[in-house]
């Protein structure tokens, strides 16, 4: 149907360069009225930059933007909105401590909403019309991630919208929520609104989109109709000559129990924290246990708990039959517990320090320090070894951690932890925002570590990754842990239900029986 409709948006030769990299190089694409158009590409392909230019957040260095066949220069988001564009950002553009209504009021101009009470009423109405119910008086930080996305979408729908841009909208949703979102978008498109949908997930694009434009390294590598194009071709356009994600890795061989969490409860320490309830988990030597879950369902708390940054209010942790309750973070590391945190820049490394210093950051526990003096030569050598052994692209151990790409920094951090020969490794988002080559490399290293007898816990939002690596799978929802079963017994539908919290009260019953 898109062929017959008039063109809504056309980009011709859009170029944007940042110091040291060209984010978009002569990108052209066309979106028709009522069309659902996918923008496909790997992390770092330039999708987000392109969207921000369409929406006026960033100005292009060169190129033309045509809106309903008229050339325009978009000076800012306000003008983009006035033209009839709306955007749902990947990292939500909401103010956590303000209410839903206040957030939406800030997005609109007073002329658009009249009074606050009228706005509140319209939020409720639009929510009902599109099946996006939301309480307009709640503060945003009290909402789930899916609900926050609703707020973002509702505020776009309050205006006369002609183009809705969504930046990786499904990354934060459970499979059921994704289905709901897709229905809503189709309903919107039927009313004539164009939709630009950014993703790197092929199956969603297939299910939803009329056309797709594929970006790689800032350039358009192809344009196609997804339903008429094979997944292999799409993947090749997206990834180029790079390897596609491996699809089979050898299974593990579970041995004795290494790490045990028994009846753990952690009460929230701040208004933004999640309450962990009755966590029971056994991690065995030589296996990878994969935990799924939408962000903000207790993953951070679980990792902090095991690492020792958070103390349980109830329950016990044991590592090789030694209780960890009174062990400091350092003592846990000495006993063989390694952690790769989710936030590699914010916690796993110090951006302004060299790789040598970043090696010492956790390496100091086992290596390089005598009589509280640092043997910098030894530490530097060790950092250089990690750079060599793990294929980290850096000029040398003196490079600043912050100057490395995400994938290379992640390889360095994982190398740093693996080189300490942990008995248990907690790996949170091992390949988040990492290119495919680096992800493959990291996956192989984790499997090799497992085969040397280490118990590995992988926590991820990427279900493909969990099915690839995990020997057993489970999910976290609302601070509760689903049952954990061997991969073969957990079909995707089952995992999706667990992510949505539908796993009965199996664990609670155990707890009540005590």
């Amino acid at each position: 149907m898109s062929q017959e409709n008039p063109t809504r948006l056309e980009l011709i030769g859009i170029t944007k360069a940042y110091p040291g990299c060209v984010a978009n190089d002569a990108v052209s694409l066309k979106v028709a009225a009522g069309e659902i158009h996918a923008l496909l590409g790997e992390n770092g392909a330039g999708k987000s930059t392109l969207m921000k230019m369409i929406y006026g957040v960033v100005k292009p260095d060169a190129g033309q933007v045509l809106w309903n066949n008229k050339e325009i220069a978009i000076e800012g988001p306000a003008q983009a909105r006035a033209l009839g564009m709306g955007m749902v950002f990947q990292h939500f553009s909401l103010f956590d401590t303000l209410t839903v209504t206040e957030n939406i009021a800030l997005y609109l101009s007073p002329a658009e909403y009249g009074s606050v009470s009228a706005l509140r009423q319209r939020i409720v109405e639009v929510g009902e019309e599109y099946g996006l119910a939301i309480n307009p008086d709640r503060e945003v930080h009290t909402l789930s991630v899916g609900e926050q996305q609703r707020v973002e979408i509702i505020r776009c729908l309050l205006q006369d919208i002609q183009l809705l841009i969504l930046d990786e909208p499904t990354a934060v949703l459970t499979p059921a929520e994704v289905a709901q979102l897709i229905d809503m978008l189709k309903q919107l498109a039927r009313k004539g609104c164009s939709i630009l949908f950014i993703s790197h997930k092929l199956h969603e694009v297939n299910a939803l989109c009329d056309r797709a434009t594929i970006l790689r390294g800032g350039k358009v590598t192809g344009s196609c109709i997804p339903s008429e194009t094979s997944a292999g071709e799409l993947a090749k356009l997206m990834l180029g000559d790079e390897l596609v994600l491996d699809h089979d890795l050898p299974p593990g061989n579970a041995g004795a129990t290494r790490l045990t969490l028994c009846d753990i409860e952690v009460r929230p320490t701040s208004q933004f924290a999640i309450h962990l309830h009755n966590i029971n988990l056994e991690l065995k030597a030589g296996e990878i246990l994969g935990l799924a879950g939408v962000a903000g369902n207790g993953q951070d708390e679980l990792v902090d708990l095991i690492n020792g940054e958070l103390k349980p209010d109830r329950g016990t942790l044991t590592l090789d039959d030694v209780a960890l309750a009174d062990c400091s973070i350092v003592a846990r590391r000495r006993r063989g517990l390694g952690t790769v945190p989710a936030d590699r820049v914010g916690r796993g490394s110090v951006a302004s320090m060299s790789l040598t210093e970043n090696q010492l950051l956790t390496g100091y526990v086992n290596h390089g320090v005598r009589h509280s003096l640092v043997n910098w030569a030894a530490v530097r050598q060790r950092a250089a070894d990690i750079i060599g052994d793990y294929g980290v692209k850096a000029t040398g151990p003196a490079s600043m951690a912050g100057s490395l790409s995400g994938g290379n920094l992640q390889k360095f951090i994982i190398g740093r932890e693996i080189e300490q020969q942990p008995k248990v490794l907690i790996c949170f988002h091992p390949t988040w925002g990492v290119d495919v080559g680096a992800a493959n490399h990291i996956h192989k290293e984790l499997v090799a570590l497992r085969d040397r007898g280490t118990a590995v816990l992988v926590i991820s939002e990427d279900l493909d990754e969990l099915y690839l690596l995990g020997d057993r799978l489970g999910a976290l929802c609302g601070g509760r842990l689903s049952p954990v079963r061997p991969k073969a017994e957990v079909p995707l539908e089952q995992l999706g239900e667990w992510m949505a919290g539908a796993f009965g009260n199996a664990q609670e019953e155990v707890a009540h029986a005590h």
């Binding site: 110091p19 260095d61 800032g218 973070i329 846990r332 110090v350």
Partner: protein, 358 residues
């Protein structure tokens, strides 16, 4: 004109920025003198060059450098860890009060241990005063900037109470001053012609100590991580509390030694206006000195010079002595402004990027 983020912070600008700030301060100072009706070049010469005409001038600079440098060694470590101890002034004043009281007690007592005891009392008093802030920060999470500042005001009032009350010189015609300290409680002079004492060597020794600590020790590494990224320090299992305690106690001890270097050095008694704001000026020393041991030596000389220059301007130009504070404030403003160039570059007009895709 616009600014553009650099890919890597510029090391050149790290060292160039203080020089640029000094040039701008001199320039602005010249404008100030001109506006006040004084010939700018000659006035600047009086402020910046005249004090160092002779050996005595240089020795006086060393007298000013001693307390500034001692305070700055402690603050360097604190600020590296982003522990904003603004309380060197209060730690200095409290240590002066206690050290002064001890000195007066020891007026009649002779012995090789007298001076070490006085130095120790000053250092311990400084540590105690800083320890209050450490306790409040580690146990009650109370902002150290506000507590240390409040402790400064409290310390000054304690000193005033001391010199108006129990420590007042009975033979002093009711002036709010203590008696002069006995000869043997004073720090030995390096030469009888000048007022420089052995405290200068203590200060230089402490510079070496923090140099080794920062460059070689695990503690030095840990406190730098604490300053750069608290979450990473926590993740790595560093004992932040212990580090904070160490930092505040150490800088308190340094401020305490600085106080003794003044009271039992050139001043020789307790007076109400004992500190000429050394604790605050030392903050500027640390920033100007780039938190580097060698840098703070140079910067303490510059800040010391602003005190001498202020005195000169008062004598030769008839300007208020507070011109010192004006120059110090300008110096810090210009420095912080110039530091922009460490992380950003100025771009005069739009240019195309000729950079390859990454």
């Amino acid at each position: 004109m616009r600014i553009e983020k650099r890919l890597q912070p510029s090391q050149t600008m790290v060292y160039l920025s203080p020089i640029l700030a000094l040039v701008l301060t001199v320039f602005a100072g010249g404008l100030l003198f001109a506006a006040l009706g004084h010939p700018p070049l000659e006035s600047l010469a009086i402020f910046f060059i005249e004090p160092l005409r002779d050996t005595y001038g240089w020795s006086e600079l060393a007298v000013k450098v001693t307390p500034l440098l001692l305070c700055a060694t402690g603050l360097t470590l604190c600020f590296k860890a982003k522990i904003w101890n603004i309380g060197a002034e209060g730690q200095f004043v409290f240590a002066a009060l206690i050290g002064g009281a001890v000195s007066l007690q020891l007026t009649e007592v002779q012995g090789f241990w007298v001076l070490p005891v006085i130095l120790l009392s000053g250092a311990l008093a400084g540590m105690a005063w800083a320890g209050i802030a450490a306790l409040l920060l580690t146990h009650f999470n109370t902002n150290e900037i506000l507590t240390t500042i409040m402790l400064n005001y409290i310390a000054v009032n304690l000193l005033l109470w001391g010199v108006h009350g129990p420590l007042k010189d009975p033979a002093g015609f009711n002036f709010p001053e203590s008696a002069l300290f006995a000869e043997h409680t004073l720090l030995p002079l390096l030469s009888f012609d000048y007022r420089v004492t052995v405290a200068l060597f203590i200060a230089l020794f402490m510079v070496v100590v923090i140099w080794v600590l920062l460059a070689r020790s695990l503690l030095g590494f840990q406190l730098r991580v604490l300053g750069e990224n608290r979450n990473a320090a926590r993740f790595a299992g560093f004992n932040s509390r212990a580090i904070i305690w160490f930092l505040l106690l150490f800088s308190g001890a340094m401020a305490g030694l600085a106080a003794i270097s003044e009271t039992n050095g050139p001043v020789g008694q307790l007076i109400p206006t004992l500190s000429l704001g050394y604790g605050y000026a030392a903050i500027i020393v640390v920033f100007m000195g780039r938190m580097h041991p060698l840098g703070i030596v140079l910067a303490s000389m510059l800040l010391g010079l602003t005190y001498l220059g202020g005195e000169m301007a008062q004598i030769d130009l008839g300007l208020p002595k507070s011109i010192t504070g004006l120059f110090q404030g300008m110096l810090l403003f210009f420095l912080l402004g110039c530091d922009l160039l460490i992380h950003y570059r100025l771009v005069l007009k739009e240019r195309a990027f000729g950079v390859a895709t990454t």
